[in-house]
C-alpha cells in the first residue's frame, strides 16, 4: 500500500455537458473512515464516481492510493470496493453467484473468488439466503449483498454511497457495525457518503463537506464540532422573553425547548458567564445550566451556512 495520502485531489473538475458537478475540488485524506457530507446535489456521488474513474475529469488531477485515476484506472480499481447508492444487481444471479462473479470481474482466481464469496456473505449476514436469486431479496438484503460484492476482492479502500438507504433502524445499526469493523479492526479505508449525519458521526473520524460541487471543509468530527458555537441547555424561572432579548444583545441565540427550558447558543469567545449576565440583566433565575453536545447536523448547518 502507498505511504502517501489515500486520496489526493488537486483542482478536480467534473462536468456533465454544461453542468459543473465538481468545481475545482482540492482535498487530501490520510485515510481511515472519512465521511462525505453535503446536501443533495452537492457532488458527493460525482466525486466517488470520479475517483473510481467512472466519469472523466475535465480538469485537475486525482490520485487514490497513490495511483493516478486517469492513467492507471484498472490497476486502481483492483484495490477499490464500491457500493453504489442505487439499487444495483447482476441480473438472474443468486447472492453467492453475484458475489463470486464480482470477485472474478475484479481479477480474482476462480477458486479464491468462490471461497471469498462465501466468507463475505457470511460476514454480511447472508449465509441463509446466499443461494436465493438476488431479485427475491428484501431491501436490507440487497444492501448487504452490495456490500459483499464490494468486499469480495478485499479492497484497500471502500467507497460506500448511502449504504443505509432503505434500511430499518435495526438493519441500519447492523450495517454501520459492519462498516465500523472494516474500518477500525481490519484496516480498510472507508469513504462513506451519506445524508444521514448520524451514520457519519457513528463511523467516521473525519468529514469532507461539499456544497454546490465545491469542497467546503475537511475536518475531524471533533474539530467540526469545536469550530461551531457552544451551546447550553438552560432551565429558567422568570420572564423568558426578557432573557431572550438580553441574550440577543450579547450576540447569543435562544431556541425554545420543553416548558421553561431553552437552548442558548453562544458565539466563540463567550460562555456560561455571559448566560448568567443575561439572566441577571433580565431579572430571570437560572435553575440549571448544562453544556450541550453540538450535533454534527448543527455543526454541518453552521459550516454550510457560513459559506453560503
Amino acid at each position: 500500500m502507498s505511504d502517501g495520502p489515500v486520496i489526493d485531489l488537486r483542482g478536480v473538475t467534473v462536468r456533465y455537458g454544461r453542468f459543473v458537478a465538481l468545481d475545482d475540488v482540492t482535498a487530501t485524506s490520510e485515510g481511515g473512515a472519512v465521511g462525505l457530507l453535503g446536501p443533495n446535489g452537492a457532488g458527493k456521488s460525482s466525486l466517488i464516481k470520479a475517483l473510481l474513474g467512472l466519469v472523466p475529469l475535465a480538469e485537475g488531477e486525482a490520485k487514490v492510493l497513490g495511483d493516478d485515476v486517469r492513467r492507471q484506472p484498472d490497476r486502481l480499481r483492483r484495490r477499490l470496493g464500491y457500493m453504489p447508492e442505487r439499487d444495483a444487481a447482476f441480473p438472474h444471479l443468486t447472492g453467492f453467484q453475484a458475489t463470486w462473479y464480482a470477485g472474478r470481474l475484479a481479477g480474482m482466481p476462480d477458486a479464491d473468488a468462490r471461497r471469498r464469496a462465501h466468507e463475505v456473505l457470511l460476514f454480511a449476514g447472508l449465509e441463509e439466503a446466499r443461494y436465493r436469486d438476488v431479485s427475491t431479496y428484501s431491501t436490507g438484503m440487497r444492501q448487504r449483498v452490495k456490500l459483499a460484492q464490494a468486499l469480495v476482492h478485499d479492497p484497500d479502500l471502500l467507497f460506500l454511497d448511502e449504504p443505509t438507504n432503505g434500511l430499518d433502524p435495526k438493519g441500519r445499526d447492523e450495517m454501520l457495525a459492519l462498516i465500523k469493523t472494516l474500518s477500525r479492526a481490519k484496516g480498510i479505508h472507508v469513504v462513506l457518503s451519506s445524508h444521514l449525519l448520524r451514520d457519519v458521526e457513528d463511523v467516521c473520524g473525519s468529514v469532507l463537506v461539499m456544497r454546490h460541487g465545491k469542497m467546503v471543509k475537511h475536518e475531524t468530527i471533533e474539530g467540526l464540532r469545536k469550530a461551531t458555537d457552544d451551546a447550553f441547555s438552560v432551565l429558567l424561572r422568570g420572564d423568558g422573553e426578557a432573557f431572550k432579548l438580553a441574550c440577543e444583545r450579547r450576540g447569543m441565540a435562544v431556541r425554545p425547548r420543553k416548558g421553561t427550558e431553552v437552548e442558548v447558543h453562544v458565539p466563540r469567545g463567550t460562555g456560561a458567564r455571559d448566560v448568567f449576565g443575561a439572566a441577571l440583566e433580565s431579572g430571570t433565575v437560572v435553575h440549571k445550566l448544562v453544556p450541550t453536545r453540538v450535533s454534527l447536523e448543527e455543526a454541518l448547518l453552521d459550516v454550510l451556512g457560513r459559506d453560503d
Partner: protein, 303 residues
C-alpha cells in the same frame, strides 16, 4: 455443531487478473443464456431439435450412405439415396443454404431469447455501474457480451457447418484434391458464418443497449428488421425497381456476402456487387458498435 467465524478476514491473493474480464462475462453469460433457454423444458427440446435437426440428419445420411456403400447387400439402398445425399453433401451451395436460409429462423430465435436481455437487463438492474467499477473497460464489457451471443449463434451455424464438412472429409473424400478442396470449404464456411454471426449479434446488442427490458429490445430488433426488410426494401424495390435498393436489406447483404465468401456464383446476384453489400454491412457494424459503446456508460447523464 459447526462454529462459523463470522468476522472479516483479509485476502492477500493475486489480483492481477490472469483471465480477461470479457472471458469472465462470456463464461457467466453462456450459463445464464442456457438457463434462460432451458427454463421451459419442452420449449428447449423443440428449439434444440429445430436448431440441430438438419445437422444431425445430414450427418446421419452421410454415415448411412457410407455404411450402405461398404456393405455389398445394402449398396442398392446407397445408390437410391444418392439424391438425398446430394442435398447434404457439403458444397458452397449446400453450406450457403444451411447457413443463411435453413438456420436463419433459429438465429432469430436465439437473438430474441438470449441476446435481447444481454445489455438491457444490466441497464434495468443498474449492473453497468457494478461492471464498470471493476477493472473492466466498456470495450471489454461489450466484447464479453458480443462473445456470449456470438457463441450461441456460432453453435447453430458455423460449428455444425464445419462438422458437416469434417464428417464428409472423413467418410466421403476420395482423393487428396478433394480433401484440399474441403479444407478450403471449411475456411469459407467459417468466414461466411462469421459475417452472419457478427451482423446479427451486433444488431441485437445495439437493440439491447437501447432498451431497459429484454422485451423492448426484442421489439426494437424485430421492428428494425421489419422496416429494413419489408417497408424499405420491399416497397422501395417495387416502386423504383432499381436493384441497388437491395442494399438496404441487411439479410440480402448478408446473403450476398456469404455467397461471395463461399464462392457460390449460383446464389450471387449479378446486379449488385458483393463488395457494395460488404461496405454497407461494414457501415452498419460501425454504426451499431458506436451505439452500443455510447449506451454502455456507468453514469447516465440526464440533463
Amino acid at each position: 455443531m459447526v462454529v462459523h467465524d463470522r468476522s472479516y478476514s483479509r485476502w492477500d491473493g493475486d489480483r492481477t487478473g490472469k483471465v480477461p474480464g470479457a472471458w469472465v462475462i462470456l463464461d457467466r453469460g453462456v450459463m445464464t443464456g442456457l438457463a434462460v433457454l432451458f427454463k421451459r423444458k419442452i420449449f428447449a427440446v423443440l428449439l434444440t431439435l429445430w436448431a440441430f435437426g438438419p445437422f444431425v440428419a445430414a450427418v446421419l445420411i452421410m454415415y448411412a450412405v457410407f455404411y450402405f456403400r461398404s456393405t455389398p447387400e445394402l449398396a442398392e439402398i446407397a445408390r437410391n439415396m444418392s439424391d438425398v445425399l446430394r442435398l447434404v453433401t457439403p458444397t458452397p451451395d449446400t453450406l450457403w443454404g444451411y447457413l443463411v436460409n435453413l438456420q436463419l429462423p433459429v438465429v432469430f430465435m436465439l437473438c430474441v431469447l438470449v441476446g435481447s436481455g444481454l445489455i438491457a437487463e444490466d441497464r434495468r438492474t443498474n449492473a453497468l455501474e457494478l461492471y464498470l467499477s471493476r477493472p473492466l473497460g466498456r470495450f471489454q464489457y461489450v466484447t464479453g457480451k458480443l462473445a456470449v451471443i456470438g457463441f450461441f449463434l456460432s453453435l447453430v451455424t458455423v460449428v455444425p457447418a464445419v462438422i458437416i464438412v469434417l464428417v464428409w472429409m472423413a467418410l466421403g473424400a476420395t482423393s487428396a484434391d478433394e480433401l484440399a478442396s474441403l479444407s478450403g470449404l471449411i475456411v469459407k464456411a467459417v468466414e461466411a458464418g462469421a459475417v452472419q454471426v457478427l451482423v446479427m449479434s451486433l444488431l441485437i446488442l445495439a437493440a439491447s443497449s437501447l432498451a431497459k427490458r429484454a422485451r423492448n429490445a426484442t421489439i426494437l430488433f424485430v421492428g428494425f428488421l421489419v422496416v429494413s426488410e419489408i417497408i424499405l426494401h420491399g416497397i422501395l424495390f417495387e416502386v423504383l425497381g432499381n436493384p441497388s435498393v437491395h442494399l438496404v436489406s441487411i439479410l440480402y447483404d448478408v446473403r450476398q456476402c456469404a455467397a461471395w465468401l463461399l464462392d457460390n456464383p449460383a446464389e450471387l446476384d449479378p446486379d449488385v456487387p458483393a463488395l457494395h453489400c460488404a461496405v454497407v454491412l461494414l457501415g452498419w457494424v460501425v454504426l451499431w458498435s458506436g451505439v452500443i459503446l455510447r449506451r454502455v456508460r456507468p453514469v447516465e447523464v440526464v440533463a
